[in-house]
């Protein structure tokens, strides 16, 4: 047991993933890896599909807002839903005519630079470290979030866009209660409404938001403005304390919302609603 090549002074194991921990420390990183990979694969496939993202009155959140629409694709949004009308001629032929490609980079960057997801993928994908007191992937000169990783510091700009997208998705959720001008409720309306609720809980629990809304102040009680911001900071802090939970719930639900709209549009499942 005391082989000097595997145990350093102090008896610690050396090398990647080496540890004397006896619990199942690897479950966390493995679940994270599987969960994130599954989402990325599905989202990429769904974004490149360019079809079956709309079935009145539901629009998949992956495709909202519809900047241009390629109306001949099956399950595409009608022209009236598109901000700038029909599909542009300048679009490169090697890329599919999918409006999601205009949209997904924004939430993608938001989640990629999120302080929670950073923890998740640094642990699960880059092994720095895979788990606590478990050997990190050896690196010649570890630089953390300095050097080329400084871009992570611009997370707040991704937040600004994410807040804007909540407005778009709220509008989509609202109109999902109206089919041909008639108010009603469908399973799809509930799915899209929950999507906005979960995304709002995730976005408003953002660490950058928590800082900007009030955390940056040194004094919470010095004037009426800072007292109001302190109140907001406390509420954001409540969501922030569960940021990981909202990160996963909202991630799963946004994917599920796309899948739901897709399956209804494909005719594989029938939307239960008050209109039919």
């Amino acid at each position: 047991m005391s082989d000097a090549t595997t145990y350093a002074v102090g008896g610690h194991r050396e090398g990647f993933a080496a540890t004397l921990r006896e619990d199942n420390w690897w479950i966390g990183p493995v679940l994270t890896l599987v969960g994130l990979l599954a989402f990325v694969i599905y989202a990429t496939w769904a974004a490149f599909a360019g079809n079956h993202y709309y079935t009145a009155p539901y629009l998949s959140p992956f495709y909202s807002p519809v900047v241009f629409t390629y109306t001949t694709a099956p399950g595409a949004a009608p022209l009236a839903h598109s901000w700038f009308g029909a599909w542009p001629a300048w679009w490169p032929a090697f890329l599919p005519a999918s409006p999601a490609l205009f949209i997904l980079p924004f939430p993608g960057v938001f989640r990629f630079t999120c302080y929670y997801y950073r923890k998740a993928y640094y642990r699960a994908f880059s092994g720095t470290p895979p788990a606590c007191a478990v050997g990190a992937l050896p690196q010649k000169s570890y630089k953390g979030e300095t050097a080329w990783m400084v871009f992570q510091n611009l997370h707040r700009y991704a937040l600004y866009f994410a807040l804007l997208f909540i407005a778009f998705l709220t509008y989509d959720a609202f109109i999902s209660f109206f089919k041909d001008g008639k108010f009603g409720v469908g399973v799809g309306s509930i799915v899209l409404t929950l999507n906005v609720v979960f995304l709002t809980c995730f976005t408003c629990g953002c660490h950058a938001f928590r800082h900007l809304i009030g955390g940056k102040l040194d004094c919470f009680t010095c004037d009426a403005g800072s007292a109001r911001r302190h109140g907001a900071w406390k509420r954001v802090s409540l969501l922030n304390a569960r940021h990981m939970v909202w990160a996963w719930v909202s991630l799963f639900w946004v994917g599920f919302s796309d899948l739901y709209v897709r399956l209804v549009s494909l005719g594989i499942i029938k939307d239960l609603n008050t209109w039919n």
């Binding site: 102090g10 007191a133 990190a136 990783m149 510091n153 611009l154 707040r156 800082h211």
Partner: protein, 248 residues
Amino acid sequence: MAKTRKFRIWRGDEQAGDFQDYDVEVETGMVVLDAIHLIQAEQAHDLAVRWNCKAGKCGSCSMEINGKPRLSCMTRMNEYAPDETITVQPMRTFRVIKDLVCDVSWNYEQNKKIAPFKPGPRDADGNYRMKQDDVDRVQEFRKCIECFLCQDVCHVLRDHEQKEKFVGPRFMIRLAGLEMHPLDTADRIPKIKEEFGVGMCNITRCCTEVCPEHIGITDNGIIPLKERVVDRYYDPLRILWRKLTGKT
């Protein structure tokens, strides 16, 4: 009721060492430190272990138990299965002096680098005043017992050995407590970015996981400091605004 439990304790010094096995009669309610004391009293009188309060408040008895950085006085024996061998080691990040005792003086050196609390002028009646809402936020950081378990587990110090570039989580929360203090007037942000190395932390939160005082080291201390550094050094619009208006 006494039960025989198996221990594997690392014995040695800075040069070399080895695990040694001990069997010890453990009573109900004992903690790992009690068992180590029994071993020291009955079988290994020269076993070095640092402790003081036995109440989780002095921060002396930090070590690694079954691979996890823990306070040995707060780790109950009944957390482990009766037939489990309990492995005990010194902390990894610091130089071993003897057996379970490390030289943690590097931490005190880091502490000295931090500009101390510098309050502004007193109120007219000669007092300093601070409201409870402001106290609440910084009080969390004052719970630190300087056990240095967070420093031990932090992979920047532990695995990547970047002690020159990062002061570690314990001192990040000291800095956070000072920077967020409403009466403090010193500006530590430039040093937090450069010398103290907040950018070296990749917010993987192991410090928070091991802190026996349950301080939200990463979420309440380090991330807010990172955001303050962003305000000063990385946010292009804010930098432009400062240039144009001269305001902060």
